[in-house]
Every structure is written in structure tokens, then in C-alpha cells.
Amino acid sequence: MTAFILRRSLQSIIVLLVMSLIVFVGVNLVGDPVDMLINPEADQLEIERVIRDLGLDRPVAEQYWYFMVNAFQGDLGRSFVFGEPALKLIIQRMPATMELALFSLLIAISFGIPLGVYAGLKPHSKISRTIMAGSILGFSMPTFWVGIILIMFFSVHLGWLPSTGRGDVATYFGITSSIFTLDGLSHIFLPAFNLALFKLSSVIRLARAGTREVILQDYIKFARAKGLSETKIIRVHLLKNIMIPIVTVIGLEFGSLIAFSTVTETVFAWPGMGKLIIDAIYNLDRPIVVAYLMIIVLIFVTLNLIVDILYSVLDPRVRIKGVS
């Protein structure tokens, strides 16, 4: 197991290195940040001073070299706009995005699995058909549009839930989050539901497909022949088998939940990383874009590793050799 984790970590570092190169070169190819940053009335001398200060007069290779040297010391550059370390800015915004992503994931799992299992057990009932039709809608409607509709309906028309911001936050166990206050919860619900909709649909479909496959297996019939109750068969024998693909997909897509929260965060003005990166792209704030992408890659790589480990916990057949 240790050897497996070590080998995977090494692979992850290579992925990070390759990614940093692509990101750095890519970002340097688009636009000139100086135009955005400088006062239009500044003279040539001042422009040159800014360019020199930002290190933009050096060749790209040299800039990359300095970026890497600094990155190994935990410095991913300084924001052109805010003048603060990019990493610090991103980490400040990270809890808001994380709580949004986790809350969405919670919605997707806690509604998706029961609905999917139900639809799998009774594939011909009206309720199941409604669930499946709903999941197709969840898949196909664009996130930004659903977000706007949610705001229109729940905030503007009914006035039940607030449409922007994070609301009150409270700190427990060193974690500051809006899910600890009632006001915060009312703020997080709409954006989290918006973000969860796509995941919810895929969890429903996975749970349904898994249920329909597993319920026909001989071991389910054998469990019935042993005299187990139907509830127990579903909770133990069925659920543990259908969780394998669900965990894989949820784990791998948690990264995309964080990465794609940009749309939801923009629609609901949620003060997370997604909002920061969109602003940074508009302002050509290169260090933030690079740092953000590096962090996202790191999250993806870590999630992959966690999924692989979790997978072997769930399915004894793929348990890594050497552990018994």
C-alpha cells in the first residue's frame, strides 16, 4: 500500500510539472497585462518601470524558471492587481468554494442515491419515470440558466431565499463557514442546489443502473433465500455493490465541482475562488490564474488518489496486493 501511494505521488508530481509548463506558457501567450494595470496617462518611463517590476521584460523561459524556483518555496507569485501573494488570495477564498462544493455533494448523494435506488427497484412506476425524466432535465439544462431561474423564482417571485452573497458565517472547530448559521444556510441553499443539479442527475442514473443490474444477481436471490428482510438486502447487499461506481464518479467529479463552481459563483455572487479566477482572467492577473490552475490540478490529482484507495476499501477484489 505504501509503495502504491508513493508511486502514485511521484506520478502526481510529474503531472503537476507538465501542467505548470502548459499553464505558464499558455497564460503568457494571451494579452498584455500592462495595458490593464497601468494608468492610461502614464508615460513611457513609468510603463517600462512597471514591466521591469513585474519581471515581464525577461524571456518566458527565464520567467518560468523563477516561477518554479519560487513555487518550490511556496510562493506562486504576487497578484498584479491586489499586490498580494496569489496563493494567499486563493486560500482566503477557498473555504467559501469548498463549503459550496461539499454542500452540493451532500445534496447530490443524499437525494441521488435513494431516488436512483427507488427508480431501479420499481422501473415501471410513475414516480420512477418522473425521477428519470427529471434527471434528464438536470443533465441538459445549462447551469447559469438554471441559476437565473432559481433566483427569479425563489428570490424575486417568492422572496423565500436570498440570491447573493454568503450571509452570516460562524466559526466552529477552527472552520469558518456559513452552514453554521441559519442565515448562511439560507444563502448557500440556492447556489448549492444549482451546482448539485448536474451531479444529482448523474448519481440518480448511476444508482438506478447499478440497482437494476445488481438486483438480478444470484447473490440477491440467495440473500432472499436466507430469509433476510428486503430492507436489509437493499441496505447491505445492494447498496455496497452499487456504491463502487458511484464513489468513483463522485470522487473524480468532485474536482470538477470545484472547478466549475465558477459559473454558479458568478451567478450568485458567491465570494469563492471561482469568482476570483473569473475576475483575474478579465484583468489578465496572470499569477492568480496560474496559481488557481495549479491548485485545481493538485486537487484533481489528490482526489484521484483518494478514489483509488477508497475503491479498494469498497471492493475487496481490487484490493492492492500485499495488503490482507
Partner: protein
């Protein structure tokens, strides 16, 4: 001895879009306490559905539409699902054909055994249930059962897995075990071991056994009585020795004739000509008419009733010699 299981005129039909399929159509059979009965037939003869009907595990669109399944005098066909659940795995257990598929791949053997005990008697402590599971594994000849309890199904060979299923079936000391082709998926050498093991266990624990198989040779070795099924009906039933020595129904004769034997070395194997008729539209009269060499006018017009014979058999055939009839 009183019969522990008495099936009277059981009818299990499948209601499909194409029509009603009478998978089991008037099956009657008896199993006495501690007796081994062989239920023999081709694929689709309704033998497995008979087994599942006893267990109350016929899948939709199948349904028991008539007859009685008397287990110690209680009609199982009339029980509610919850009442039936209390019998399953407790008083009546079942072993399936493919040991690779019957154990849940993601649960430890221990979990799968202990839940069988606890779901029928929640007063048993975890420690006692564990001990009983371990003893049951030992009983079916699995070495170092303590260690094997913690293993997962994929760590066992096919024969071992079937032993585990047998151990699970035996856990609650049932009165009757229905074994649905338990050795078909196994190697011939393992097959012999498992058959022997089952026979020994049933004798020791006085458990009755309904052994469902398509292989007449298997039941000839262990069963006290044999029932031969064809197209949803029992065509011949009686004592093992009588049937093997002198089959009366043409179908049983055909089945016996197609078993390879040592004294027929070098000669082509006999086979029953023709095909099993479609269960969706059985011919009028006897279902075996299109493959029978004794077929006459009465066979194509009237379905034969079960005729008792002098040696205590029941045979569904018009052509039983008058001297054999009881």
C-alpha cells in the same frame, strides 16, 4: 413417517405478453423427513420453478396460481411475504447452481453467515453467531474456519464456495434443503465430494433434501425416490431402485438410455429424438407425444392422468401394461 413437505397439484404460471406460460402445471410430490428426493428434468421442464415456488421466490411475472405446498401441515402458498420470510433460510433453505454467483462479492463470509443466523433469531449474541458460523464451516470440511470466516468469496475456489453455501444453508438446522443443481457448475471430482458431503450432512442432521438436477446419474447415486419432470408435469415418480432398474415412462427410458455407461463402450449414445415442445403452446394430449415411439390416438387427444403401479410408482402414460397397474 409423515411427509415433511407435501405438494399437491402445484401450478406456477408466468403471465407474459406473449401468453400464459405454464412452467409448473399440476405437480404433486412428497418428501418425508430426512429423505433425499431427486427432481430430474431437462432445462425448462419446470423443476427449478418448482423449487422456487416452495421457497416463495418466484420472480414476476411468475405466480403460484393453484395447488398447495404443505410444509409440516402449513400451506406455504397462503403465507404472507413476512411469514414466508421467517421460513426461508430457517426451516427451508436453498442452495443455488453457480457458487461463483451466490455469495455477495463485497461482503466477508462471516457477515453473510452471521446475518443468516441473526435475521431469524435476534437473541443470539454476536459471539455465539460467530461460533456457529465457524462450526458450520468446519462441518462442511473447510480447514482453519476461523481464518476463512474473515475472507471474501473471491478468495475461495468454486468447490469451496459451494461448501460455504451449503454451510450457510445448514446454519439454522433446516428441516428441508432445496438444492438446485448444486454440482452442475463444479469439476467432476469436486462434484463427487460435494454430493458425498451433502448426503453425509443430511443423514447426520436428519435434513430432508430435494435435489434438483438434469443429471439422472447424480440422483441415482443418492436419492431414495426420484421424480421425473417433463413440460411442467411429473411424468414418473417412485423409488430410485425401481425407476433406474425398470423405467416405465418412455421419457424416463429415454433419459436413462442417454446416460453413457461402461457396458455400451464403442456404441453411439442414444438420444431422445426431437425437441421439447414450446411451453407456450403445448400440443393437445400428452406433451411427450412428438418424441414418443409408442404414440397412439389416445396420446394426441387426452392428457394422461397419473396411474399408480404395483410397485408404488405414479406414471403419467397411457401405455402402461395392464399387469403393472395397481
Amino acid at each position: 413417517m409423515d411427509p415433511i413437505l407435501q405438494i399437491k397439484d402445484l401450478q406456477t404460471h408466468f403471465f407474459t405478453k406473449a401468453g400464459v406460460l405454464k412452467a409448473v402445471d399440476g405437480v404433486s410430490l412428497e418428501i418425508k423427513s430426512g429423505e433425499i428426493v431427486g427432481l430430474v428434468g431437462e432445462s425448462g421442464s419446470g423443476k427449478s420453478i418448482t423449487g422456487f415456488s416452495i421457497m416463495g421466490l418466484v420472480d414476476a411475472p411468475g405466480q403460484i396460481v393453484g395447488g398447495q405446498i404443505l410444509f409440516k401441515g402449513q400451506d406455504l402458498a397462503k403465507l404472507s411475504p413476512a411469514e414466508m420470510q421467517a421460513y426461508r433460510g430457517n426451516r427451508i433453505a436453498m442452495i443455488f447452481q453457480d457458487p461463483m454467483m451466490t455469495l455477495n462479492p463485497v461482503l466477508r463470509i462471516e457477515t453473510q453467515m452471521v446475518e443468516t443466523i441473526l435475521s431469524h433469531d435476534s437473541s443470539v449474541s454476536k459471539v455465539d453467531a460467530h461460533a456457529r458460523a465457524r462450526d458450520a464451516l468446519g462441518l462442511v470440511g473447510i480447514s482453519s474456519p476461523d481464518e476463512r470466516l474473515r475472507a471474501y468469496p473471491h478468495q475461495f475456489s468454486g468447490g469451496m464456495r459451494q461448501r460455504v453455501s451449503i454451510a450457510i444453508a445448514m446454519l439454522n438446522r433446516p428441516d428441508l434443503i432445496i438444492a438446485d443443481e448444486p454440482t452442475t457448475a463444479l469439476d467432476v471430482t469436486i462434484q463427487g465430494q460435494v454430493i458425498h458431503e451433502m448426503q453425509r450432512l443430511c443423514q447426520e442432521t436428519k435434513t430432508a433434501l430435494l435435489w434438483i438436477t438434469h443429471d439422472l446419474a447424480v440422483v441415482a447415486g443418492i436419492a431414495e425416490r426420484i421424480c421425473v419432470m417433463y413440460a411442467g408435469r411429473v411424468v414418473e415418480q417412485g423409488a430410485n431402485a425401481n425407476i433406474i432398474a425398470a423405467p416405465m415412462h418412455p421419457y424416463t427410458k429415454g433419459l436413462l438410455g442417454s446416460v453413457p455407461g461402461q457396458n455400451r463402450r464403442g456404441q453411439p449414445l442414444q438420444q431422445i429424438e426431437g425437441m421439447v415442445p414450446s411451453m407456450m403452446n403445448l400440443p393437445k394430449g400428452c406433451a411427450f407425444q412428438n418424441r414418443c415411439n409408442l404414440v397412439s390416438d389416445i396420446c394426441t387427444s387426452t392428457n394422461p392422468d397419473a396411474t399408480s403401479t404395483k410397485d408404488g410408482r405414479l406414471v403419467r402414460c397411457h401405455n402402461i401394461a395392464a399387469g403393472d397397474r395397481a
